[in-house]
Symmetry: C2
Subunit: 354 residues, 2 copies
């Protein structure tokens, strides 16, 4: 292994100068810098990160904690984080908080290994008080995606507003019997996201003078399969028939599309469906959705960490943009003499930045 000493010798300068020349910290004459760079390159010198970390206290590494690795949203967010971090020369240390409680415990204990990372981002997790305190007590930049998290800087869309927008789109198309597929109230790994989305749905209904009906709400577990089952319930029960469904995620919305097909219902003629996410598969299914730009969320989180590391104080929280994408799973409810649709002007795009 080529050490800094060897480079110093070959370039006829001190190790300190090599360090300065290569890292960009401190002043080095242009000529010296060039010479050092050339020698380093030639010798194939690469600094030892351990030595560098030990001496400087910086690791150029940020930890990322995720609850799932095999779900589209998390993978996509992780990709965004990775991209932005890598651009700035940072590595990412991945912690998958699988389902195992012991692992989770272990990770948070292991994070006490100060100095292992320069910052941490937690994606879409409901952190308990101890965990929050652990992270906050690390003395390094921390940001939660999918927040707001109590006591931690966060980055998130306004889930209530997003759900409201989705529901209002349906209402504007004349729908009044609108079902909702959300999360399983028992399974609460995330930031109450399902609850907040349901809230937005109910608010939109209330604003339109529609009485929320608990029978029109089904849990879908944020999976395609869950959405399928939930939609069948919503569409099958006597007296529950809906003309539109607002699913809390695109994957559940896709499940609903499949369920409608199996039931012989045409989408959107017989049933309008809207989701939330901006899933890859959205265009394929023609799915109307509210895009939350997951990759951008990841990039933003990375930038918050990076900025904080550069001394730019973090805002305690930051609301992210989202955008209604009207495709072909939603349409105006058929006009009937008894019930004229009063507004169909919602077509097109509607961007929000907060």
């Amino acid at each position: 292994m080529v050490s800094i000493e060897e480079v110093a010798r070959a370039a006829e300068v001190s190790a300190a100068t090599v360090s300065r020349a290569l890292s960009g910290r401190g002043h080095v004459s242009a000529a010296t810098r060039r010479r050092v760079e050339a020698v380093a390159q030639e010798l194939g010198y690469v600094p030892s990160s351990a030595a560098s970390s030990l001496a400087s206290g910086r690791t150029r590494n940020v930890g990322v904690i995720v609850p799932f690795l095999d779900r589209w949203y998390f993978g996509t967010v992780l990709g965004g984080i990775s991209e932005a971090l890598m651009e700035h020369g940072y590595d990412i240390t991945l912690y998958n908080v699988a389902s195992v409680e012991a692992t989770r415990q272990r990770i948070f204990d292991s994070f006490i290994h100060r100095r292992r990372v320069d910052g941490v981002v937690a994606v879409g997790m409901e952190l308990d008080e101890v965990e929050t305190a652990t992270l906050a007590g690390l003395g390094i930049p921390v940001v939660a995606i999918g927040g707001p998290a109590r006591g931690l800087p966060w980055i998130a869309i306004d889930d209530v507003a997003v759900a409201r927008l989705a529901t209002e789109h349906l209402i504007a198309l004349g729908h009044r019997r609108i079902g909702h597929i959300g999360g399983d109230p028992l399974f609460d790994l995330d930031f109450h996201v399902p609850t907040r989305r349901r809230l937005g749905y109910e608010e939109a209904l209330a604003d339109a003078g529609i009485q929320p009906d608990a029978k029109l709400v089904e849990p879908g577990n944020f999976t395609i399969e869950g959405g399928y089952v939930a939609a069948k319930q919503l569409l099958g029960g006597p007296g529950r028939s809906v003309t539109a469904i607002f699913a809390g995620s695109d994957e559940m919305a896709i499940g609903a599309i499949l369920a409608a097909r199996d039931l012989g219902l045409r989408v959107p003629q017989d049933l309008s469906i809207i989701g939330i996410d901006g899933h890859d598969l959205g265009p394929f299914f023609g799915l109307t959705t509210v895009d939350q730009f997951p990759a951008a969320q990841g990039r933003s989180a990375a930038r918050v960490i990076l900025a904080d590391l550069d001394g730019d104080a973090t805002a305690p929280g930051q609301a992210l943009p989202y955008e209604l994408l009207v495709r072909s799973t939603t349409m105006a409810v058929p006009r009937t003499p008894a019930e004229p649709a009063d507004d169909r002007g919602e077509r097109g795009r509607q961007a929000h930045r907060a």
Copy 2:
């Protein structure tokens, strides 16, 4: 930050003893060990990984390189790696070789940062010679998943055999016009996996005396959407009609199912479909598939690294198990007087371990 010195002082032993007591290396009396552990716990001592790495040369960190983060297979494999590694106290440093060439370059250069990781696993990537040499030259355990990779230890299923098995299942059910959806020959990010699967398909046909027909093979890009488009081509063209489709991945198979439905074909009555993977969504669609246990692949790779780190030499290559899972997207081709099906005994499970 609590240092080893402070613990040593409080426990009235030397720093070396603390190190030995806590790491398990070297001999320490049970009494001393207990005392040191208690003190360390009480003081909240956690070793500095940088200092430890610098002194020992071990990082307790393994690098994982993946080409995608938002695809089910890769996320699942990554989860398996993460799980096994974490169990043994190793962290994972994630490198996402997105599409950007510059990033890819950067990652392989950055890996020259010896000592950053104790080992590396590359998942499902076609590595060029320079990259292979870079990894091999790291002087640390390396394993490629999805191999065989030339010049690198690998872990993989026998893609030819898997494809053969899938195709033979169809043949055993009496199908003779069997279409295949594979990869895009131009897009070759992986280990020629698509090519090897196509090979297995062709071998199986040949063995059954069926003449392979290039018109029955379509690229599907390993996505649902690609599978959909490919299936439509396969099913739509005059004179190309098939009674079964073997898709090179479950996602393409799902796309094919959707395409068949849109075409008004019943699966499996009018069209049998089989995939490869063991995808999460398989049970939902009743998809017959050859499970390749992606999470287990990740775990195996991690174990290879771990074993190598423990001094157990790695086998140059290791073939992984797979299993035919017959569900409900495949059935015997309807008997006709002219063409009797001769074997329908393939139902059930068929496990393979290599």
